[in-house]
Symmetry: C2
Subunit: 469 residues, 2 copies
């Protein structure tokens, strides 16, 4: 500034142009406004911008590939479901669920992929969840036989011959007890055993020769709902039901008790699933089994066929479908107390080489019966306060999404021989139809944003849905 | 330059400085050499360079996370080993191995993780591999009992009491046949059966009471190499050896036959492993079993302890180690012909719920014996020309690298009852010690670059290593 102002008077005083003076001229401040300077800077600036854009595109492209990896089909999807590696039975891996502590996660079986995490909940947290459940109040998990229900066979309009043929698995022209039980295990919540089936036969005079086999002629004599009517007349005890427990549902979304919120976050960390998936799943189910309580072996979710809809995504389903299942990808079960006697969780066919439905019931050993044969199953988990077990009810589809139902995930609650058993279940619902799950999540987030001014319970899609589960 | 020369006389003619004229001054060409201009450009340039570096670092960091995902420890590693998903037995997935065709890959078992890929090789390729092997010449896979070998017991300096105690698994003070066989199954390549063990007892008068049990007193009467000496005197037939076949090794590196090169590329695509890993593995082993040929059940690789070294990375091992194994992460087995009778590959304990070494040999059923009990194993693969089977000999370590030996990978070649059996093996060698594998690969790539002017066979680390395998 100073130099520039000095240079001009100097030049006018000495008319002969001298090289040293000329250099001085270009140090004037206004030189930054020159056209050539502007041109050079603009070129640099544009090259710079183009480079930044190219690098950002490169970063974006690389991230897309890196995150999803593997088969090409995945790169089109924005969400995928990592599965925890089981490695081998007995393998222990460290997991970070809470600050300042690592939990140990032990592989209990590979079929189903099943893990145990001791100390998942603190004593205090267990106590609180039980109290919250008691405060809300528990209802019978299963009511006694409902009356006046129509038989499925009547709805489907099948002839007795057709039904007989469907039931006769080995096609020997006779119905063994086992064939009746495999397919008609549960009659409106009543759990049939070979003994009470024999009792029904006698009561109905259905099997005159008493060989425990029904011929087509004998079968035709029975009216389609003869079994039900007989059982209803005789009366049913709770120990004869599929499950004998009381339960309630605890909402874990916004505004819920901080321990329930924290529990949900911990489950997200444990399962490594996208948080939104966990948040949009069913509320926490808290279950109490009194002494003598049980839950016969079952699957937490059903098989999936192209026409099957999921309960949680029916919002996003295009049409009404004849079949619906709960689509519980993962079960996380928490033991809220250590049971004095019995009450183990049994996985009767865990890591079996093969799964055959028929071989579950053989002669007098019915592996599904958790009142009698818990000791004969492959795997039993003893309830320990604060321990969580996690298993996958579905296999992977090999492309990062949910595949078929894992039949080996069959499990039940053994009869409680002493004391009370408190557990809680967190089910992670995922629709095996990827597009439907995505559509559902979009619908919910839209509903959330429009309903955010209204009362909160309405925004939760499971608010009412599971009152009756 | 021209403008600059004109402007100075103008200024000298009119002493009063006028703004319009001053603007013209800065359009002079030499303005790009001004100090302020230089300063501004340099600042821009530095900012630009810093931005590019920051973005490159960001890309690098993101790649590291994206590719490896999961546990934090992985992000430090540049290489990881994806495993093919098995999903469930019978699952079929499409794989792209050659242009214009998709192959089907069927899951045969999960323990070990085992797949079958029909049509992996064309008829023509099978024929060519057999011809190349014949051209090179095959050698006996196992020679008869070598003489004059020292007993391991003598080297280890153990007393007879100590050896007896080690062998006595159930600690009942007596050695059952089963206990001898479980631990001394193979004596210098001779496969001991319960029958020939009884024969040895009789020949050596080792078991006077003839109950098939050795007491400590009886055991002490035997010299440490009594078994060997007896067997050598009696003479050994090839059917009594662990394996009864002939084999050769075919180099697949640079300069090898294009079919062998192509085969290696296809294996890389199939296994989804880094190409360098596959390229640095053992050459292709081609094996011929004549009628009566067999290979008793075995593991292709050994268990890994901290002190165990891998044969393929001994270049990179820091010190000499007492144990060495071949570290064959994956076996890819090709059937080069369809065998007329027998010759199946058996996996006796595939998908068993548990693995117990002792229960493999029970009474008269020895599941390891592929001459007798192939029909009693869990899984048998029938040789079909062109079909490949792939299995993992090691589990994952849960962090994207090789873990423990998968004991369920136990397999053998059933006796060929009619015709000849031709197979080929591609083993993918990976050191369970990640650092050692990386060091080894660096060493090899250095050796390659320095030895590239020399003859090619020297640059191949497996050139000589496997002549004697």
């Amino acid at each position: 500034m100073m130099e520039a102002q000095q240079s001009v008077p100097e030049e006018s005083a000495h008319p002969v142009p001298a090289p040293p003076r000329r250099e001085r001229v270009f140090l004037q401040k206004s030189s930054v406004c020159s056209r050539s300077y502007f041109m050079v800077v603009m070129v640099f600036f544009h090259v710079y911008i183009i480079n930044v854009i190219a690098l950002l595109l490169y970063v974006h492209y690389n991230n897309g590939q890196g995150e999803l990896g593997g088969p090409r089909s995945r790169s089109e999807r924005l969400m995928y479901l990592p599965r925890i590696e089981g490695i081998r039975v007995g393998h222990v891996q460290k997991v970070s669920l809470v600050p300042d502590r690592l939990h140990e996660m032990r592989t209990l079986s590979l079929k189903p992929l099943l893990f145990e995490i001791p100390g998942f909940l603190s004593e205090e947290e267990c106590r609180l969840v039980v109290q919250l459940a008691q405060l809300k109040g528990l209802t019978e998990s299963q009511v006694m036989v409902p009356e006046g229900q129509e038989e499925l066979a009547e709805q489907l309009d099948l002839s007795p011959e057709e039904i007989f043929n469907l039931l006769d698995l080995n096609q020997d022209g006779q119905l063994q007890l086992q064939e009746i039980l495999t397919q008609s295990r549960v009659r409106d919540g009543i759990w049939l055993t070979p003994e009470n089936l024999r009792e029904i036969y006698t009561g109905l005079k259905a099997d005159p020769d008493g060989d425990g086999l029904l011929s087509l002629a004998e079968f035709k004599q029975l009216s389609s709902n003869a079994f039900q009517r007989f059982l209803q007349q005789r009366g049913v005890q709770s120990s004869q039901l599929v499950r004998n427990s009381r339960h309630t549902w605890l909402y874990q979304g916004e505004g819920a008790h901080h321990v329930l919120r924290e529990l949900q976050k911990r489950v997200t960390r444990l399962t490594r699933l996208p948080p939104q998936l966990v948040e949009l799943s069913e509320p926490l189910q808290v279950v109490r089994y009194e002494q003598g309580g049980h839950y016969h072996a079952h699957h937490d979710s059903g098989p999936v066929y192209p026409e099957t809809a999921c309960t949680h995504t029916r919002l996003a389903a295009n049409s009404s479908t004849p079949f619906e299942t709960s689509c519980r990808y993962i079960t996380v079960l928490f033991y809220l107390n250590s049971v004095e006697g019995g009450g183990e969780t049994t996985f009767p066919v865990a890591d079996n080489r093969t799964y055959e439905e028929m071989s579950l019931i053989q002669n007098d050993v019915d592996l599904l019966d958790t009142r009698k044969n818990c000791d004969k199953g492959n795997l039993r988990v003893t309830p320990t306060k604060g321990t969580a077990v996690l298993w996958y009810n579905y296999l992977s589809d090999g492309k990062g999404w949910v595949g078929e139902l894992d039949e080996y995930s069959l499990h039940g609650g053994c009869v409680v021989t002493r004391g009370t058993k408190w557990i809680a279940n967190n089910w992670i619902n995922v629709d095996p139809d990827y597009e439907r799950q995505v559509r559902y999540q979009q619908l919910v987030s839209q509903a959330h944003s429009t309903a955010s001014e209204r009362s909160k319970p309405n925004a939760d899609p499971h608010g009412d849905a599971h009152q009756d589960l």
